[in-house]
Symmetry: D2
């Protein structure tokens, strides 16, 4: 039995972490925290997320000093803002905890990335070296030994799971950059008051064209350039990515299928479609990334879908936990 | 041609007013204003409400002193907060304008009502005397002579249009209070950043049970008590009210139909259903209130639906304008 | 380990049954069937309900003779049309199975009820006698001994859970009939092609006013008349019922709270609200019925919400199973 | 005053035509028809589309022989299935009517196109020669003289309005095919009972990958290949297309802006965005196509949005009518 602390539990991803971890037979939640300034301090998690009522009625505790919360804690989940994770992760590591960070603070091992895309200068280059990027299907060996896991962003998870097998197998003509069009539910913007999130304002629309922080995250980890255009969709949760690529000359549909099968046939949280492509609803509320594709001549379209809060955040974090500590990979997830 | 000023044009009802009035052949919009503190000052109305792009690209001007905006203005629409209308209406009246107020500041001629339901003490009892409550189908004579029109609330419009013909005809047994269950779109809460309005939080739910300010507004103008339970619905606009009443002994379905027909057969913005009851979508984007009903023994259920921003706000305001100045009642509305 | 057959597994409630039962440690699904005429015969359940892909990929088998499916089967779930359950239940009982029927075929022990509300004459009055109405919180003793469980309708579950403690405690003045206004998600209409279910046509609207079959179901089991007005809501799943009642003279808010607590404080699938009332989203995807209320003078408003496919169908069916066979009441449900 | 007949008025585009044409000061609707087999024959248009109640309560008449409906008719709108338009257009032309066809029956002057994409062999090659493709902003001269107008498809309208100015100006490197990702509301599938359209089944998903009939329509009229991937979105109406292209070396953002301005600055139904890109809601219920774009190096993303039933169907049909007969281009549209 491991003790775990969930920092930033009040948000949407935080609540999903709570939901998974309270069911986990090997985990014991010691506390849920929010920042000392938060209006939510003192409330129950189930006041903010009433689906948890009667299941997890723990309070959200204001945390101003981590030392009040680290005693006996084995694993800390950080479902916090990027800057906050950047500040807290070293402290929790120093306190002897394994840290699983859901923010972007340790995803890219490139100091120049953070000022440009996150607005702060990274102070912990040695942690950028040590952090394991938790794209779980591709990092199972490294995950077993690390003390700092950086869970990928929601869009990067779907995008990389779709593209990595093809790139690694050398099937794509990368002179023509893959075009990733992805649409995310509104929960991707977090639980906060903002006109842009308000019910009457949300409407299908691209945003962050050419400058979304997930574009370099995808490109760095895939090792190739991509055009990534995120869209806000009029639904609460889920991401659907439609990816248009060019195949190398002579590459067949079978080779594409083989590459996906080789990568994922033994991976329980990626579901491949023999025919057709997934719809968003297939994965909402579930920990899977579903992938389908179609080929015509040298053109390939891959469709990947996931719940942005689950495989794109909390479920992948728990999957990383499971791998890290040798639990069944899908423990508490399905 | 009348000159009109729209105060508080940045909100949802304000934008609908703009949309009606720029099409109105007898109206000339002189300016659109917002409060001097608003972040929206200086933006175009079409920046906030892009459906107006290319149609009305006027700026939202910061108004700190009304005298900068009253020159030559015949009619002022106040789509402002209750307290703001309460403060501004006397000033515009003093400047010689006809005032059409969409807030609750002058709806109930009872000084005790405002501290309890709106949180301020009313300073202008003489205006409460003078104001005409603009439930347009029922006030056409009074509207023609007033200089201060108080447009009813959204729920009260639907509720009163449904009940008033029956009460006036003496068909209801009012010992049993009519039960009004109504569901409104999220735009009813206004254009603002709030967790409660955010896309992922909105979900069908009652609110303001037994203490919503529209309950006394309805009761006072109908002259009878009602139980009014508003709900937030998961749609942007529209109100549907389902009203359960008890008929006096022996009252027939035909008598109910006759009462509605007598009241509304010559009223172009109330549409009566011979059979069945309306759905919300029948009226969204339209200036109508649709009414249907069913009778079984002494039980009567009336269903009334309207667009909360239109017949429940902007369209009724323009309807009042049209009646006040002798234009066709539906001018620019249909 | 019990063997179970799910008949009518292709619908929305059927798929939810499959989802619960494949996780149930004491249950083994032997087969999923659809009618011999169904176009879905031969498809996988996960073709129709892709959320089950990789979890339950069993085929939907055409069933023309039940004997092909009864060997070794202990429990049969009927998620079938009313007429079909009416025909099949006696056959499965004769074959020695315990039958848990989700249709309306055995809910009301009154032969006159079926021709009027379901369009067929009941042929099995002896089964109407034997059937236990599976409103689980209220029938735990009887459920343990029956071989035919009739799972209540979705609206009746929420309505009765809200009203029964109050009526049994004698708190309501029933001279004034309780007014039940309830709104259901579209899945309540079943998985079928129909203009009325189509995306562009669905819009908040009452239906079945004064003649919905759930009205007598509620009234018979509560032993009192009610006015029940169902509405179609623009969401896939969930029911929210707002119930307006009159309290007997002198009844206090505390007495109401006490009645609910006495009924449900040890019932894990009913969640009571100390303050406020539930929203629909609190229960979507969950097996709970959530109940809150407000009192003013002699007026009481109770709000009950549930997932129509879960506590209103599949979860309650599994809850009945659990009670029937002595499993933990919430086994596989939470 | 011209007399007009609307054939296939019962569908979503048909109802929008009715809505525009009854307001049109130069048009008189003589009749609304549906096929002789339709269940809707004899109903009022406002029974099917209640938003028209009180505005247009004309009956939907069964049409088995066009001669019963052509007397005195100047213009016929065909809002019918492709095969039906293919059959009826020649008959109405022979009867002396101007025909404005909203189907795909006359959009592509290539006999091989119809068997492959529409499933029938075209019988009227001479009409394919004569038909003017009504992409209104680009065909105003030809429209003035034709008797057969073929209104473009919904996706092709947005796609071509976005790409044609750039291609005509030689700004695009077409060796890399433009990638058109577009999402349409459910009304694009028509008013019909189908599981795929049902409320609980609709979910964001690509369909018709590499083989949608609008791909060749776009490619033929643009004169270049494109990759077109349509998606079904979870909203009733509207299309948003995100188009990724490669610019020729050295082409600047200003050149792109200039090309759009040159094409559309005097076109009232195309709205260009100086900065940013449009959201779907900007155009829903309106006759516009809104276009914005972003450039980075040689990459260009154009976003075009329209209401699929309006600029993508009925509004463009009326725009063609207006141009054809010399009315103001936006008559009755804004």
């Amino acid at each position: 039995m491991l003790n775990t602390l969930i920092v930033g539990a009040s948000g949407y991803a935080g609540a999903e972490l709570v939901n998974y971890l309270y069911r986990h037979p090997h985990m014991n939640i010691t506390a849920l925290t929010v920042s000392a300034q938060s209006n939510d301090a003192g409330k129950l998690i189930s006041d903010l997320h009433p689906q948890l009522k009667g299941l997890v009625d723990m309070p959200l505790q204001a945390m101003s000093d981590i030392r009040e919360f680290t005693a006996g804690v084995d694993v800390v989940f950080l479902a916090t803002a990027h800057e906050v994770s950047h500040e807290l992760a070293p402290q929790f590591l120093a306190a002897g905890c394994v840290v699983i960070d859901l923010s972007g603070a340790f995803r890219v091992n490139d100091a120049g990335f953070y000022p440009r895309y996150y607005g702060f200068t990274h102070q912990h280059p040695e942690l950028l070296e040590q952090a394991v990027y938790g794209l779980a299907e591709w990092q199972s060996e490294k995950l077993k030994e690390t003390r700092l896991i950086s869970v990928p962003g929601c869009y990067p998870t779907a995008s990389q799971l779709a593209l990595k097998p093809l790139i690694d197998a050398g099937l794509l003509d990368l002179n023509q950059w893959p075009v990733i069009n992805a649409t995310s539910g509104v929960s991707g913007a977090g639980r906060k008051a903002a006109i842009s999130n308000s019910f009457c304002e949300v409407s299908l629309q691209p945003y962050g064209i050419f400058n979304h922080r997930h574009q370099p995250e995808i490109a760095v980890h895939l090792g190739t350039s991509v055009i990534f255009t995120p869209h806000l969709g009029n639904f609460p949760r889920g991401i659907l990515a439609t990816i248009t690529c060019r195949l190398n000359k002579g590459v067949t549909q079978q080779q594409v299928a083989d590459a996906f099968n080789a990568a994922y046939q033994h991976k329980p949280l990626v579901r491949l479609y023999d025919k057709g492509v997934p719809a968003l609803k297939n994965v909402v509320g579930l920990p899977f990334c579903d992938i389908g594709f179609a080929v015509q001549d040298e053109h390939l379209i891959v469709v990947a879908t996931e719940d942005n809060l689950l495989k794109g955040a909390a479920a992948q974090a728990v999957q990383c936990l499971n791998i890290r500590f040798g639990f069944a990979e899908t423990q508490s997830l399905i």
